[in-house]
Structure formats: C-alpha cells, structure tokens
Symmetry: C2
Subunit: 221 residues, 2 copies
C-alpha cells in the first residue's frame, strides 16, 4: 500500500521530488476536485513530516493546482469550465509560437526526437497511453524552439490541462482524430513550414479544447 518504490521522476532536490509526487497524486485524480488535502495521510504515504509537505503544497498552490484557504486547509482546485476555456485560449497562443519557432530552430536532434515521439504515438492507440505520449510529442516540439522560458510556460499550461485528461481520454474517436491532426503537424514540420505548422498546432489545440469542454458539459461536472 504505502509503496516506497521510488518513482521515475528523479529530480535533484528532495523538495522537487515531493512536489512531483504530490502533483502526480493530483493529476492521477486520486483526490476529487474540491476535496480537502489529507496532510497527515500524505505524510504517512511519503514518509515525511508536515513541514516539507506543506512547502510543496504552497508551490502547488502557486501553480494553481491547489487552493489555500486561510485557517481552513487546502483543497484540490475545482475545475472551472470557464477557466478551462481561458486555459486553452492561452495555450493556443503558445502553440502558435511553438510552431513558428520550432520550424526554424529545430536541430537534427530535435527532429529525431519529434519523429520518434510521433512514431511511438502511432503504435499506442490506447487512450491512457496516448495521453502520456502525446505530452512527450508536444513537449518535444516546445523544446525544439530552444527557448527555455517558453518551455517553462508551456509546461505549466500543459500540466494544468493534464488534469482534465480523465474526461477526454476515454474518447477513442477524439484520439483517432487527434492522431490524424498530428500527421498533418508532422507534414508541416518536415517541410519546416512556419505558419502552416503554427496554424496546425493552434487548430489542434483548439479542437482538443473543444473536445474537453464538450466532455465537461456532457459529464455535467
């Protein structure tokens, strides 16, 4: 139960590891939206005391995953459909930028990594696996811009989107459609077509956002 197995997320500082583990708990949907964060339980599970856990909570709160209520504990930040729209709108702009820059700046190493991520995606049509590999693919494109500030900004948005996957990755239709869009993205990337790549990425993001919003409405929160 209290698996002391070290997760593969081996970052440097112990603090970073705690943040990563805690974020994983939130992303895995183990805790329902709006649920109180069980500090003591998590301390037991991670084998740490409350001090470092609370440090991680503050960081996650600053990132928007957790809501800190004065003297009343922290809760998992509820998913607000309106905010989801804003999130995808913002990410769309970043995607466009990624397309414009990656097309021009990608090195051979970047291209190889992107091709590999794309190929792996095709081999795993399973929605759950797809989500993870999808992240790798898009992140590889972001990295190809060679702008660390962009990568950081993108990571932050992407992590927030990831919270929503459980409502959309159950949809095989969208997964197939998504992969089709990726094919188009790759065509544009291989041709190093700046604006074409930018627009395809933005459109891909827009369609994903719509799928998510539709799923959110369908599930009736």
């Amino acid at each position: 139960m209290a698996a002391p197995a070290p997760e593969e997320t081996e970052t440097g500082t112990l603090h970073e590891q705690i943040v990563a583990k805690l974020r994983a708990v939130l992303l895995n949907g183990e805790l329902a939206d709006g649920a109180r964060i069980p500090e003591a339980q998590l301390c037991l599970r991670f084998g740490i005391s409350r001090t470092p856990l609370r440090e991680a909570l503050k960081v996650l709160a600053a990132e928007g995953f957790i809501e800190l209520r004065p003297n009343r504990g922290s809760i998992v930040a509820p998913i607000d459909p309106v905010e989801v729209g804003h999130l995808f709108e913002m990410k769309g702009s970043v995607e466009h930028m990624i397309g414009r820059l990656a097309a021009v700046r990608a090195t051979d190493v970047d291209a190889a990594r992107i091709e590999r991520a794309h190929a792996e995606l095709g081999g795993h049509p399973d929605p759950a696996v797809y989500t993870a590999l999808n992240q790798d693919f898009h992140r590889a494109l972001a990295v190809a811009t060679h702008n660390p500030v962009l990568v950081q900004t993108y990571d932050n948005l992407q992590k927030r989107v990831l919270r929503l996957r459980f409502v959309v990755n159950e949809n095989p239709t969208r997964v197939a459609q998504s992969f089709g869009e990726h094919e188009g993205i790759m065509v544009a990337f291989r041709a190093r077509a700046r604006l074409d790549l930018a627009e395809r990425l933005e459109e891909h993001n827009r369609l994903t956002g719509e799928a998510v919003r539709r799923a959110l409405k369908g599930e009736g929160a």
Copy 2:
C-alpha cells in the same frame, strides 16, 4: 513609489504576504545576484520564524527568482543575458495576444482604467516612477483581455522582467521613447484596431528588450 494598491492579488493569507514581501526584496535589488539569501536576517526583519519564510522561498524558487542548491542554501538567481532574450521573446508573443484580445474585449471600465494609467504615466516622466506606472498600464491592458490565465502568465513574465529595471530605468532617452510608443498604442486601442494594437505592443516589447540587452552589455554584468 511602489504604491501597494489593493489589487486582486491582495490575498489575505499571511503566506501570500510573505511571498510578496520577499519578492519585493529581490525586485528592489537589495540582494545582489548570486548572493546567499540571509534566512535569519529576513526572519528578524519580517518578524517570523524560518518555517513560513522557507515556504515562501520554495515558491519564489519555483517562479525562477531564487536558485535552490541542495544543502547549500538559496541564492538570488543570477541574471543570464541569454535568458533575458528568451524572456522578452516569450513576452512578445503574449503582448501580441493581449493586443488582439484587449481590442475586442475591453469594456468601458477597462478602457477607463487604461486611459487613466496612460495619463498618469505622462505626468511622471521620472524613470523610477515611470517603471511602476508602466507596469500598471500594461497590466491594465492584460486585464482587459478578460482571460485570467493570460493575466497570470503575463504577471509571471512581467515580474521577471521587473528585476532588470535597474539597468534600464536610468535611461531617460528610452523612457521618452517608450512613452512615445505608448501614445501609438493608445491610438490603436482607442480605434480598437486588433492587429495594429497587437503589433504595436509586440514592437514596444521588442524595443524594451533591446534596450535592456544593450544596457546589460554596457554594464558588462
């Protein structure tokens, strides 16, 4: 001066206040780049113990203001000229987005706030004051997009840029030039000209970025 107007960022939490105060210390340039963070001293100064201060340190580290070294304390994140370029490149994209959206979505209240911020800027040509009011002006434009995720992303980038002001706000020439660009921005905004506003904002950002980079090179950091 740094008038702490009661913005929506004025959360009641003590933690948020500590983060804000600590950030202010960093932004004021009280601590040199790469300098060790004097935990004990800051605890005395803020009248708190190390626990809440360290929570704030972790948050600031996640934001990129502080570098956390394992077992060796935290240091003020050094300014990397290359990263400054990436920072402005990223911010340029966001500025463009702000222009496109603000032109369409700004309400009368937004417009009034933007006009007021612009007018105040004209009345205070003093570089030090200009910097603070300049932030208000651009933030008002960001708020007019009515996309909180964008505002949050913009705030984060803007805060990182603010660290650099001491190298550029000593330049009256650039201040005058900057205000001239603001005039053009206002013309485009009043006309609600989407792309014109977007391009003017992006160009303004680009010029500011170049001024900063030039100043950084000049000072030979």
